[in-house]
């Protein structure tokens, strides 16, 4: 039981971070960013390049992942999403753009980083072993803690900074925010950059544990969408709740149901369908959007 709890906390923190960026972008711009997983992968590869290949300090590599993805996110919003949103009122236009971006990133990643699985040296050696009741490598504990600190920092930023308040206003009511003097174009770009930066941050953190490869983008996006659906689209606390719930469901299912074969995700998907039929807006979403 203790092991399930430990695995659940670690997985939950990791998943919540993945979902945060996706839900932030959705909240601000009503864009389903299908390329979120690819941004995560790109963040992992940037950290891999600086830390794993060039041997620079991990903190610097992580910073480079954040900066690279933030700049990329800002450029994508400024030159791709913003014009499309202005010219087309159809939501599927941005969805198609996001899907196209996902394919583009996949192709770019293949060209730049190749087809192989990549990994970096462990940050900390050794394994915490509490009488074989809880076994957890120290690097997972470190990354789990960093993920929790990052989530808390993000919440504080959104709650108390001027930018965070502007972004929340934008998410709540775009027109009202504009009338109150919020520069909508500028903060949309900042919000998208922040969402992409979060993807880069979690990619950079997790490359130390899971490694990274070309094919991880699509499945990561799907996982992030599941978490957002559970918690409620566009709600920050919902994304965190969705991530933690998915983490615990996975840890519990794999520990208790493994003797029955791979039914953990089958049960998760069935439960999700039933849950969404009863509460389509998710745990913390509003039925009116």
């Amino acid at each position: 039981m203790e092991q399930i709890l430990a695995n659940g906390i670690y997985l939950g923190a990791q998943y919540a971070m993945i979902a945060l960026g996706l839900t932030l972008i959705f909240a601000l711009m009503n864009v389903l960013n299908f390329a979120h997983g690819q941004m995560y992968v790109l963040g992992g590869f940037v950290t891999y390049t600086f830390y794993g290949q060039l041997g620079w300090p991990f903190a610097f590599a992580l910073l480079m992942s954040c900066i690279t993805l933030a700049v990329l996110g800002a450029l994508i919003e400024r030159y791709l999403f913003a014009p499309v949103i202005k010219r087309s009122s159809r939501e599927e236009s941005t969805m198609l753009l996001a899907a196209g971006l996902a394919f583009l990133f996949d192709a770019m990643i293949l060209l730049l980083f190749g087809e192989k699985q990549r990994g970096v040296p462990k940050l900390v050696d050794g394994v915490f072993n509490w009488d074989f009741r809880v076994i957890m490598p120290y690097d997972r504990i470190l990354i789990g803690a960093l993920a929790i600190v990052s989530i808390v920092a993000f919440i504080l930023f959104m709650q108390y900074s001027k930018t965070g308040r502007a972004l929340r206003a934008l998410a709540q009511d775009r027109s009202a925010a504009q009338l109150m003097g919020v520069n909508v174009d500028r903060y949309s770009m900042v919000g998208f950059a922040l969402g992409a930066m979060l993807a880069g941050l979690v990619g950079g953190l997790l490359v130390t544990i899971t490694g990274v490869n070309l094919g991880m983008g699509g499945p990561t996006s799907i996982q992030a969408f599941i978490m957002v659906m559970i918690g409620g689209a566009g709600v920050i606390s919902g994304a965190i709740a969705g991530g933690i719930i998915l983490g615990f469901l996975e840890a519990t299912g794999l520990a208790l149901l493994s003797q029955y074969g791979d039914i953990t995700y089958l049960l998760i998907f069935v439960s999700l369908m039933i849950f969404l039929a009863i509460r389509p807006q998710g745990l913390m979403g509003k039925p009116w959007g």
Partner: protein
Amino acid sequence: MKRRTLFKASAAFALTLSLQATTAWAELPVLKIGFVGVTSGPAAAWGISNQRSMETRAAWINETGGYTIGDTTYNIEIVSFDDQKDPKRAIAGMEKMAQEGIHYVVGPNVDDGAAAVRPVAEKNGIMYFPYAFPKELYSAPASNAILGMVANYQSGPAIYKYLRDEKGVKTVGFVAANESDPLSQREGGVAAAKALGLEVVSDNATYQVNTTDFMPLLTPVMRTRPDLLVLSGVSPANAPQLVRSARELGFEGFISTETAQDATVLREGAGDLANGFISVGGASTPEIASDAMKEFVDRYTEMFGEYNDESNTKVYALEYILETLKANPAAIDDVEEFKKTIDTFEAPNPYMKGDAKLRYVGMTSFGQKRQLAVPLVVNVYQDGEFETLFIAEVD
């Protein structure tokens, strides 16, 4: 004015270069060989190593004057199609090969894709070389598919027997991805282990192919305390994480797989924790690699920036196709002639030291010769490199 002149000069120079290139290429007729396999998504490494092996060898042949079959010398062109690991796309790919008049195709990489393309290949007179293991593809009445590598039901028993006899292994646990190939390989592995008298202590732990955290999966498996943990059909993307997680959970037994792996990927993903990991390789370990194999590795590295150890096995398919066509030039557009040549074909193996031969095998497993005699090289990973554990032959 100057700018216009510069533009004209540049255009003329570019045209001259392109004409020169076209002329050089047009000097020889082109023999097209197809590849239909997965080169995108999580399993991309499998297909890309196939495709790049073929492209490296084709470029090498073309650079050194082409390949002579009968009275004609050809340049080799590789026509590739990404089936995205989707059987429907694999069919579309094989149909494209048929439309281009291609009779020899390497791939697909997985079981369902290889099964799906069979009717298209047989209808259009295409011999294809899958990296997939279903026996019905290679057993009569099927006759157009030739297995391009050593199957898990051939390598698995050899590895288990070695570990039982040499290392005292008595109990085995299996872990597989929840996909058709790994699951069927697990079933084959379980049967082989039981036939050797080993006790199977865990055989139902499976994981989603996109899993990135294997600790929750492996925790219950480790409680069964197997002497040997078999990662059935594990992809190179998942192997380092599985090995690392098992070791971090305190597993001290042997870990093996029947799939080919890459030493760099293992080093980066698991470091020293991957020491002792047993996998199936090809012909590039220093003990057995010939000078031609070393040159292939150098050329591959030069073309693509980095070698992939999976290509140790995948270097062979194109070589077999060309050597068999050389042995019977009538087969170049008639696969029935190719089939007639299979039974008696033999040529020196350029990639291995000694007097190893290229020949078709498979009588024991399929009742007919529908498998490339790729050496069954079992490797063990140690400090960033593969070392040859033992070499065996298949038939």
